[in-house]
């Protein structure tokens, strides 16, 4: 599944070359269905994109509190949070608030 991921507010520093925008191909879940949920995406990002200090990005099975997540410019809480199902060409934005004002 093609997705565009954007990282900001300092989260880009956890990625290779501090790149903010990543156009990625995320494999769907292995149990048959061709869907990617936010839960699956977080695991994939943590394993495949994050190069250092993953604890700045995830806590437990979700993002760390204080990280703003937008799916196509909509707060992910309104899309189902971890259970939100992503669609082809969705844009997912992660912005950390845990930095200076």
């Amino acid at each position: 599944m093609h997705l565009t991921l954007e990282f900001g507010g300092g989260l880009e520093l956890l990625l290779e070359n501090s790149t903010k925008v990543h156009k990625v191909e995320v494999p769907p879940k292995e149990d048959g269905q061709a869907t990617v949920t936010m839960r699956g995406l977080l695991t994939w990002v943590k394993d495949s994109l994050i190069k250092e200090r993953p604890e700045m990005f995830v806590k437990g099975d979700s993002v760390r509190p204080g990280v703003l997540v937008l799916i196509n410019d909509c707060d992910w809480e309104l899309c189902g949070g971890l259970d939100a199902e992503l669609e082809e060409k969705d844009v997912v934005v992660f912005i950390s608030t845990l930095h200076g004002g």
Partner: protein, 356 residues
């Protein structure tokens, strides 16, 4: 105590933006307001966000027409949004304010380049004049000079103490009547918690005030006192250009955890701080002013003047933490008192940034 369970009957998670905005009933909801849990669209969000800040300004009589107001501008998201919203509201509601951006340059090679670029961009975008005051202007020393004199060990003490006063000194230099800063509801809730944890009753009673220093020459106020950091970021997320800064600490993380469980928690902590009543028998530290520069200080000279004294006399370690007390001449009691004083000073040095 799961916040989502408290919502009661919940529809199955909808696909992005499939519910309508509760305010206009026309567009799809894109955000959930932490204060009210209302689901609203971006257009309505911008309107209520700006309106709430206008209400805060009016209800608390933050400004008087004709005032010259310095907007403390760090180049971060809070002060960038503050500069934009204030200049908009000033126009829209005819506050009659003479607004300008005030930035501090510590004089660290490379460090402020990005954020000073951001404030220069704000100057052009929002049509607000920008004044940059440097540590060199204010104190006669850049941080680079100070590091040359003292090394890399205690330099943060200087930078922190100097920064705390820099906005006030800069605003005085530029004849401002008032300073506004971008401190938000999360910042204030964090400060309430830290002051409770430290038992700092004097700061606890001050830290929730929307305007401080009203008896001093230049009062400071916080129009974002009730504005959630999350919403500042929502407001800002379209052009996210600030440079990241040091991560804050456990109290901040704790507040974000609380917010996730129950978003109102942030406002409730502020409310607790506001309603704290201090026993009449508690002795409060006296707040005086510095004998040299007139800045608020509980000692004869303020910390910045003590540090400057040391720098200018070639004894840069003066006023820093662990100088040995005078050789044995003091009685035990006096020594203990001095030790206590020193401890307080170093605490202020480390955590002073929270007390605005």
């Amino acid at each position: 105590m799961d916040g989502s369970a408290a919502d009661g009957a919940r529809l199955p998670p909808p696909r992005a933006g499939s519910r309508l905005c509760v305010r206009c009933g026309e567009r799809k909801a894109a955000l959930k307001r932490p204060k009210t849990l209302e689901q609203i669209c971006r257009e309505c969000f911008y309107i209520v966000f700006e309106d709430e800040i206008h209400q805060t300004i009016v209800e608390n009589s933050l400004f008087k027409a004709g005032e010259r107001v310095a907007i403390g501008a760090s180049g971060g998201k809070d002060s960038t949004v503050l500069a934009y919203v204030l200049s908009e509201l000033n126009r829209r509601h005819n506050y009659g304010l003479d607004l300008f951006l005030l930035s501090v340059d510590e004089g660290i090679t490379g460090y402020r380049d990005d954020s000073l670029e951001t404030v220069k961009r704000n100057e052009i975008q929002y049509g607000l004049p920008l004044k940059i005051v440097s540590y060199k202007d204010l104190y006669g020393w850049t941080m680079d000079d100070i590091v040359k004199a003292i090394g890399l060990k205690n330099n943060c003490t200087f930078c922190g103490v100097f920064r705390r006063q820099a906005l006030d000194r800069g605003a005085a230099l530029l004849k401002a009547d008032k300073i506004v800063t971008g401190h938000n509801a999360d910042d204030i809730a964090e400060t309430v918690l830290l002051n409770i944890l430290r038992g700092d009753i004097a700061r606890l009673s001050r830290c929730t005030l929307i305007t401080t220093g009203e008896d001093g020459p230049i009062p400071r106020c916080k129009p974002f006192k009730y504005t959630y950091e999350k919403e500042i970021l929502d407001y800002f997320s379209t052009e996210c250009i600030y440079s990241p800064n040091a991560y804050r600490g456990f109290a901040r993380e704790f507040i974000k955890d609380l917010e996730r469980m129950r978003p109102r928690a942030i406002l409730d902590i502020i409310k607790s701080g506001e309603n704290f009543r201090i026993s009449a028998t508690t002795r409060m530290p006296e707040q005086g002013t510095c004998g040299r520069c007139g800045y608020i200080s509980s000692q004869k000279l303020c910390k910045a003047c003590v540090l400057l004294d040391g720098l200018n006399r070639g004894l840069p370690k003066l006023g820093i933490g662990r100088t040995k007390a005078g050789a044995g001449a003091d009685s035990d009691g006096k020594q203990r008192a001095k030790r206590r004083e020193r401890n307080t000073l170093s605490l202020q040095g480390k955590h002073g940034n929270f007390d605005f």
